[in-house]
Amino acid sequence: MSKATLAEQTLLLDHGSGGQASNRLIGSLFFKYFDNPILNAMNDAARLEIVGPLSMSTDSYTVDPIFFPGGDIGTLAVHGTVNDVAMMGARPKYLSCGFILEEGLPMETLERIVASMANAANEAGVTIVTGDTKVVPRGAVDKVFINTTGIGEIFASPAPTGSSAQPGDAVLVSGTMGDHGLTVLSGREGLNFATDIKSDSAPLNHMVEALISQIGDIHVLRDPTRGGLATTLNEIAGQSGVCINLREGDVPVRESVRNGCSFLGLDPLYLANEGKLICILPQEKAQAALELMRSMPYGADAAQVGTVRNGDDGPGKAGQVVLETPLGGHRLLAMLEGEQLPRIC
């Protein structure tokens, strides 16, 4: 950050006071990067042009470390909310963002984050229309927390929901599993065993739009973030009252992620993803959907990983996810209990 644009190099409590220092911060940082007519109007609230039905989602981001290979807390805060809004079969349009910042944070760090948020919003085609900044005493938060709320227009009819999976449907994923989770974990602990892994943090709204408009009849769209593929599929199986059969050998996982996981005793199926989606649709449309995803920037490794079954035919009950191993054996793929913790030996 150049001294000409901002005299202060360190964030002080003053910057959250609502007075002069706040104004300088907002003017020289947020307005500079998020620049758009709605924000620039500087009213108490944003005036939006939007028609219903609407999809709305909010999430708070507290990732540690705040910078990691493939992204940072800012890109996550945009991608995470954009993707959640999109999974309802919606076009995300507007975002709000609230910052809770720790006193003493280098201004440069904040600027990097704001700049990547602006880029991420740009790529996703959403506008950051309102925001808030609070600065809290040192130690009250860990560097920076960001909340984003997104709103979008639902254009799919009927809109995909977690309760619409039907027996006979195909279960697709848009790419490799576990990249984000393992990146953040190894970043946090300074583990250098997996140098070539990076977060998959990415906006998926363009892919969602293409799937709905070009393929159609999409029953379920979900992004397997925290808890990973296993947990999200369990939620869908429960909501839809079906059994999901996941074929382990077909789930794409990068070799480096697999190795890192086996070293730490973690399971990639439970690791978070920030740029992947699960798409459940009739089997006869699966091939076309896969080809479409693979032709798009974030879908190169798209694959069919399983099928939806009735609870009564085959191993497993309604509400369960059954994993078919490469050996042809079956086991339950349960929801994660607590967080995954690395093991002793």
């Binding site: 059954v322 050996l327 042809g328 054996g329 086991r331 607590g338 690395p342």
Partner: protein
């Protein structure tokens, strides 16, 4: 196909499974000693594919599972001290101690607990926090003990006075002896732990075959490893010719790792130890040698391990000894689930009760 994949090759496994089905001519109760094997057998989906005559038992080889209630009480005691930072591997966080308390809860209540990935990280923590005492929770078997001993040697070299280890290490071979001496256990053969054996080699297991006429196969964690080992057991029992076989030659040398053993025994010596669910096993633990008492958290911080009563209703001991399958414990899946574990077998990701609960369709 690379080497690693070939040990998971479905076609190869299918062939081995067929051979196992045709060659099994008498029931076989096998126990895997190691928790990583338990999980490997479940995760690969192998369990339901094994011949009916094969009974699979999970043994006492998950370090978290065998950590005694009174040892957990000692962790919790330390976690309550102001000037102490506990450094631990992650999987100890959820182990219930007396009254169901655990380190996770202690951390939420303000105890300073850091999850580390190696004892070296704990040493770094001690260097960074000279005003505090960093206590590393030394739980585990022969696999982890040498690295921890090595870290103690480093701390000594650097003259670090604020680094301590609470050594509750356990040794695998003495536990096998307890199982073999107990007629109720009725174990026909052992799948011996791959990781532990990289240190031990074959020698410490020889008594299993020689004195107890029981086959033991050191094996890896892929389905091909496990199936090959089962075939070796079946064959040995047919011929009534018992030995310890190293199936896992790609990782384990027959003589183990002499240097690691040397380091381990330069810092520690054997002593009796408490095993959860089993009780006291002679010469099955590792305590600090006198020269290193400065690093011994027990002595330096004046901790007394008072024997806590076993958890009421929990059948972990029976499960660990192969006398009972997890599903037969009256609490299984009812009073005891991974969300609300009563015994350690349900806590650890490598515990047998947790594995049954999580993976059985």
């Amino acid at each position: 196909m690379n080497v690693a994949e070939s040990f998971r090759d479905p076609a190869l496994c299918k062939g081995l499974l067929e051979r196992l089905h045709s060659e099994l001519d008498q029931p076989l109760r096998f126990m895997e000693v190691c928790g990583t094997h338990t999980v490997a057998i479940f995760q690969s989906g192998l369990r339901p594919l094994l011949p009916e005559g094969i009974t699979h038992l999970s043994g006492p080889g998950c370090p978290v599972c065998v950590t005694h209630e009174s040892e957990v009480a000692a962790f919790l005691d330390l976690a309550g001290r102001d000037d102490v930072i506990l450094a631990t591997f992650g999987d100890l966080m959820r182990v219930p101690g007396p009254k169901g308390r655990n380190l996770k809860l202690a951390k939420a209540e303000g105890a300073r607990i850091e999850i580390v990935y190696s004892p070296i990280d704990a040493l770094q923590l001690a260097i960074k926090n000279p005003g505090d005492t960093v206590v590393f929770l030394g739980v585990g078997f022969e696999t982890t003990a040498p690295t921890i001993a090595g870290t103690v040697l480093m701390a000594k070299q650097q003259g670090l006075n604020n680094f301590k280890v609470l050594s509750f290490h356990k040794l695998v071979p003495p536990a096998l002896k307890v199982l073999l001496d107990d007629p109720e256990c009725a174990i026909d053969s052992f799948l011996l732990p791959g990781h532990v054996s990289t240190i031990l080699g074959l020698e410490p297991y020889q008594f299993v075959a020689q004195n107890y006429k029981t086959p033991g196969v050191i094996t890896g964690f892929d389905p091909v490893d496990i199936l090959e080992s089962l075939l070796i057991m079946v064959e040995q029992r047919k011929k009534e010719d018992y030995s310890i076989v190293n199936q896992y030659k790609r990782a384990v040398s027959d003589s183990g790792n002499a240097r690691a053993r040397e380091v381990m025994f330069s810092v520690f010596e054997t002593a009796d130890a408490l095993w959860r669910g089993v009780g006291c096993i002679p010469e099955s633990g590792l305590v600090f040698r006198d020269e290193f008492s400065n690093f011994d958290a027990l002595k330096a911080l004046d901790i007394t391990v008072t024997e806590a009563p076993p958890t009421p209703g929990c059948k972990c001991g029976e499960v660990l000894k192969g006398k009972m399958q997890p599903g037969d414990c009256p609490l299984f899946g009812k009073g005891c689930t991974p969300a609300k574990p009563v015994g350690p077998c349900m806590v650890s990701t490598e515990g047998s009760c947790a594995a049954y609960y999580k993976y059985s369709v």
